[in-house]
Structures are given as C-alpha cells and as structure tokens.
Symmetry: C2
Subunit: 491 residues, 2 copies
Amino acid sequence: MAKELTLRAENYSQWYNELVVKADLAESSAVRGCMVIKPYGYAIWEKMQAELDRMFKETGHVNAYFPLFIPKSFFSKEADHVEGFAKECAVVTHYRLKNSPDGKGVVVDPDAKLEEELIVRPTSETIIWNTYKNWIQSYRDLPILCNQWANVVRWEMRTRLFLRTAEFLWQEGHTAHATKDEALKETEQMVNVYADFAENFMALPVVKGAKSANERFAGALETYTIEALMQDGKALQSGTSHFLGQNFAKAFDVRFATKEGKEDYVWATSWGVSTRLMGALIMAHSDDNGLVLPPKLAPYQVVIVPIYRNDDQLNAINAKVDELIAKLKARGISVKYDNSDNKKPGWKFAEYELKGVPVRLAVGPRDLENGTVEVARRDTLTKQVAQLENIDQYVAELLEEIQTSIYNKAKDFRTEMTTKVDTYDEFKDVLKNKGGFVLAHWDGTPETEQKIKEETKATIRCIPFDGEKEEGACIYTGKPSQQRVLFAIAY
Amino acid sequence: MAKELTLRAENYSQWYNELVVKADLAESSAVRGCMVIKPYGYAIWEKMQAELDRMFKETGHVNAYFPLFIPKSFFSKEADHVEGFAKECAVVTHYRLKNSPDGKGVVVDPDAKLEEELIVRPTSETIIWNTYKNWIQSYRDLPILCNQWANVVRWEMRTRLFLRTAEFLWQEGHTAHATKDEALKETEQMVNVYADFAENFMALPVVKGAKSANERFAGALETYTIEALMQDGKALQSGTSHFLGQNFAKAFDVRFATKEGKEDYVWATSWGVSTRLMGALIMAHSDDNGLVLPPKLAPYQVVIVPIYRNDDQLNAINAKVDELIAKLKARGISVKYDNSDNKKPGWKFAEYELKGVPVRLAVGPRDLENGTVEVARRDTLTKQVAQLENIDQYVAELLEEIQTSIYNKAKDFRTEMTTKVDTYDEFKDVLKNKGGFVLAHWDGTPETEQKIKEETKATIRCIPFDGEKEEGACIYTGKPSQQRVLFAIAY
C-alpha cells in the first residue's frame, strides 16, 4: 500500500496531516496558508452545509451576501473588535497592475492606490452593521435573521489544513433584535443548533457552555461554544455563538423606534462554524487505516466491489449489482460501484477504508450462487455475510447502527478522558500524563486563568451549561468557587 | 404607493436600478462597486444555484474549492490571459495593520509587506492549472471535471447592481481532458446546459453560438455563449463556455502519459455563469409594476392575502388558509401567508406585485361562504375566481402555464426584435430606430468587426450554431460571407 499512514500512537499530528492529503480531502496551495479543498473533501463539506442550512432555515433564518472587502476605518469603530481582528489580515492597497518595464510580467501600478485601504473580511460584523443601519428604523423592522455562507481571511502564521488556514469557508449568522432577552435567546438557540448538528450528524459529542471573558469573541458580551475532544486528548472549539449586546449598534449608530415610542440601540448576535469542522470530523473518529465517516455525512455511504476472474463473471455480477444499487437508492442510500478493471480488489478495499466509506459490499461468483454478499463495516473493520434478498433493509439498519456506534465510541472516549481534579498538582499531572478535559474549580478571575495558561498551556474551554453547582476552592488560588469549569489544552 | 417605479418607456435604466432596490434584491454597499445581495434577491440566486448545481452533477461534475488569492506571477504565464484579466484587479500587498501613532485607528504596517503581491481572483484558470499539475500524471487521471462556486473581483470603473459589479458571485467549471475532441465536446455540452437552464428555468430564450475572435475569453481558442435580449433591445451575454486548447497546460507545464505511451499536454475548458443572470432575469420579464418571476425560480410561488374587517373573520379565514397551505405544500408549491395586521390588502397586493410573486390568492368572508378564492396572475395582472375545492390542482396548472407564458412572451418579443439586414445603412437604421438583434453578413475579419463597433457600438454577439448557410456579402466591406452573424448593442 503506497498510501500507508503514520500511526496515531507514533505521531498524531503527522497522522492527521497525511490523512487529509491521502484521503483526497485537501492540500496546500501555492498561496501560503490557503488550502485547496479537493472534491472528496468538498463533498463532505457540502453535506454539512446542506444540513446546517436546513437547520438555520427551520429556525427562521434567511441567507444574504455582504461584501468581501471592508473599509479599514470600519474596524476602528468597535474598540475590542479592532484589537481582535484587524491586525493580521490581508490588505488591498491597489486596484491595478501594469506591464513591467522589462516587458516580462506585471507590476503594481503606483497610480492606482486606493484612498482608503480595504481589508479582506476576517468576519463581517462591521460591514453588516453598517448595512443594517439602513434597514432598521422601527421595531417593525426587527428581528433581522440573516446568515451568510462565505470565505474569510485571517493571516495566520502557523497553518494546518482545515484546522487553521489563512482563508477558510464558513457561515456567519448576524441577527438584530429589539430586546436584550430576544438576542440572548437567539444566541442560546444557535449554540443548541450547532450542538444538535455536531451530535446527530457529525456523531461528535460536545460540551456546551459559556466562554470566560479571556476567551470571548472580540466585541461580544457573551460567547457560547461547543467544545469537542479529539483522540489525542486535545480540545477543539467547534462552533461559537455570540451575544454582542448593543456594542455594534452603538459603533455604527443603529437605533430604532421601540413599540413604546422611545428610541433604543439594536441588540445583536453573531454565530459561526467553519471548515474547521472538517478537522474535527476527521480527528474525532478516524483510525490508523484512514478516515471513519459517520454515514449521515459520507459522500457515498456504500461502496460495492466486484470480485471476479473473467468477463463472464463480471457481467453476471454487474447485472446483479444493478438491481442491488436500485434497491439501495430507493431507500435514499448513496452508492458507488467500483468495477474499474485497473485496480485489484485488495487495492480498492484499502482505498475505500482510507476514504472512510461506512459500508463496503463485496460480490463474487460464489455470492451469486448462494444469494449472499460480504458486508464490511468501516468503523469496526468487521465483516459478515448477508443475504442479498433483504440487503437494502440490512444496509439501512447497519448505517443507522454505525452512526450511533461512532457517536457512542466518541462519547465513551470523552467520558474516560474527562477528569475531575481538586488540586493544582493533580491538574498538572492529568494534563501531562493523560490529557483530555479537566473539570476543576476556578476563582472566576482572568488573572488566574492567564497564569494557569502560561504555566500549563491549558485554557478554560467553557463554563458548562449543565455543570452542577458545587462549592469548591480554586485549584490555583484556593478562593471559593461555585462550579467546576472545563479546562483543556486546545487546538 | 411609496414604492412606485419609473416607467420603462421613460427611462429603462432608471427603472432597472429602482426595481432592484425597491424589490429588495440588492443594494450598493459602503465599498465602491461591491453590492449587498439582500435576502429576497439571494433566495432567487439560491434557486438558480440549486438547479445549476444539479445539472452540473448530472453531467458528471464535482465541486471543489481553490484559493481566493493568486500570486501575481501566475498571471504572466499565459500571454493573452494577463492582458485580459490581470490589469483591473484588487491587489493585496500587506498582511498586517497596526495602531496608528495618534491612537485613533489603524494603519498599514509597512513591515508587513508581502514578498510577492497577491491578486484577488478575477477568474481561477491560473491557480487551478497550477494545482492540476500535481493531480495529473497519466490518462488514467483524466478527465478532471471540477466546478467551484465562488466570489471573484474585477475592478470595474462603472458598476451596476448585478450587471457589472467589482465583486460578484459565480460558478466556474474547469475541466481537463486527454483529447481535443473530448474537450470540445465538454465545451459544447456546457453551453447547452446553460441554454437549457436559461430557457427552462429562467424562461429566457437564448441564442447559442460561437464568439468571434475579438470577443473571446482571454486565453481561449473558442468561446461559446448564450445571448439573451432585454426589453430595451440590448443584448446580454448570459453564460460562456471556453475551449482553452492546451494554452493553460503549456503555461503551467501540465503533461500526461497518453494511452499510447506518449506524452502530451492536457486539453482544457472553463465555463461560468454569475449573479449577472439575476440582471438578465429581472430585465427580461419585469414590467412597470415590478418584478415578474418565473415560477420555477420564485422564492415563493404563491402569496395568500386575507381580506377581513374583524378578528372573527380573520380567524375563520386563518383556519381555511391553513388547509389550503397544506394542500399546496403537498404538491411542492411554496407559499407565503401574509396575515400581518399592520398593512392593508391594497398595500400587500402592490408589494407582492413589486416582488414578482407569480400567483396571489385573496380570501375574504364571501369566499368562505361560496367556497371560492380570488386568483391573480402576476405576469398578466389578470384575476379570476376559482373554487377552493380543487385549488391546489388549479394553482399547480396555473404555475406551469405562467412559466410557459413568460417564456413565450419573451420569445415573441425576440422574434419581433430580430431583423435581417443586407446593407450597412439598413443596419445603422435598425440599431438607431428599433434596436434588438440584427442578423447580417460579415467578412469574418476582426478589423471589420472593430470598425462596425466603433461606428455603431454594435458588436457581434455570436455566430449562431443554428444559423443557416447562405451566400452573402459583408454589410461593411462587401466581401463574401457564408453565414449571417448576430449583431447587437450589448450590456
């Protein structure tokens, strides 16, 4: 096998990098930090998009599109936001090239300098609130519930495919509300939508919670997050929903006439998930043989490989497989039939294992005689012989079982890798020797969080929504605390 | 009515600009030349995307994503391409901002200058062929049939919403083939897909044909196009498919081992349609009352307005309408029920006419008694009373009839506005007094085409595929010609 992977236990990071490339998900491009998302990887992203888009629409949102460029001055209008976003970014300064004097190429035309530089959007709060200003006069214009599917750019110095790239794809919801309460409910609703998507489609258990002040979005009063655990024991922030208060409305002077005839600033939220979810999906479930995809997001759920010695056998198998495919498709199951003659079955088996196809069916001459088919599960790497007769129902049930099983496996792993500690020594010991999520008491101050981060690299991933109230003492300062928070070393 | 439009006959251009804004399709943004696509406009674009994407996939294509940025040097590799595209474009020169010395904002950090400038893609042939180089070794790797949905930027000096904007949304297909013949067939297939989409979904009759050398895509050996006629008698190029020969393969050194064991450069095509189609859709069908949308692309096909004097009446209507909506939805018909109490029926009627909703149903207390409903067609502005009993079937048939009728109307208009001329005087007379498509003989030279363009502003829209062979003399030079070509003044 040319495509053998580094083992996870040997070098998890290298395993991930190789897997992304060898499974044809993405690759680095000629532009520093920008990736090419290859067709197989993009097909997974499209499935994610379709489900999320449906969920957004079911919760009353509509899509729109706002400009790629943002005038530089817009970033200075919200003080925290400029610190968080306007620094490492792509800056457009000119709008024309001209032939170079030596005639061998093009150079920037110095006469075509923009009066005000444009920033390639790192996130769109500023340009969108500048637009909303014209859309909102009265409470009757509210709420505005817009989402945008777009590319954004943040000039990251150290990049990794899907996890941290200069350009990435995402969706960003931006909503405007008449009351604080409604905006808070929206913020909460959307983190719930993300958790629902992660758990039910990605088969990824997540912890929902609020970010500490240090980890909040630049410009937000509250950031809610879903945090997932990867197989190497590191956390991955997988989606965030922000309550922005009236900060952006004040920065862009967006006021409205209230029902009571007064004037107030509009309340805002924003929320987003990105192609980073691809990284989470890959790292949460895959193994040393390659990808393991949950059936609900697999570009094709079933691959069929014929086993034959001659054309007569192949023709007989093709005829049977045609029926089989029709039956599976009638149940909404997506199928690929690989009867290409330039690859051996063993090569194909390895290839589709690498690509994480949930179910593989192998059909040979003996199967035709016996009315059977060999069924292989990608997640457990187990095989069984099944009857061709009811194979469609068998596969449909198997796909459901795989979806559940992958989720449960990830959940069991997370349970095992979540540790409660009561002292700082224990805390450091767990981080060093075990990793994973660590539940510990914290005194609630940014200073303590910062010191713990400096000394251990662990950050507060969130203050879990479902964490029980419990009297305790901060592991670092001994000061009183009412609830354990979730620490981890994160991507 | 606050939203009254300028009449088409008075000022067509102003009518268009007002309609785009008042029907909530799009608006200008704070960034010169960049538009905001509003939710109602974006919903139409999403419908277009969904149909096109389905058609691309049915013809074997897959989606992928390539970087937003292209290194400047890439544009110099294909000589014609750099002339056509690398000149008016957005240039990223820096990757960081810093606090300004006065503390009141941010300035570009001069220490963060890129070694090589990056161009925001105006089209992606260069970055994609630089990528394909690594994907293609042998004929077994071919064909590659990728499409990308993306934003692109061309620094246009004079912009108009949808028709010509600095940033626009589009899809660009980029395919790689082992033979010239296969690439030519792909080029042809895709212009046929575009024509099919325009005619069957947009209800827009188009002329398919080849571009003359002057009007070809920069870097193409052949450009096929679909050309539509707007109500003001001007042509709108609505989609193009390019046969790129081996130009980009040579520029980026993309060679492959052929089946016969030799080495050859790969053959290429590219093809695209953009949010410009929104402009075509709006201008082709709409009238002085607002948008006219073909049912297949309308965000909602039916709007229902209750007519009532008191809450009892409204409650009774609501109950009936709930049944009605369920019946319509069961047939896959999209419906909006507007029972908002802060607008009068007359205001709502005008609003949904402006927005081009194909069918409007009005239900009042008398209708409940009689088991009827008032049905209004947007395209003809006619009303009829129909029985509530079979209203779902009635509406389903009506929507089909509207789709066909809009198409036929546009086709009749085009027939009327297509003129054959045999002399240059006639040619100029038609352009001046009638407009539309003009079929005339041309000697086949770029020089003659250029002179005609300078003198009349008319360009050759295409050499129609279905044009009959006919001996004739060039209207400008009198030289012999075998086929009439299609001239028009174009957007």
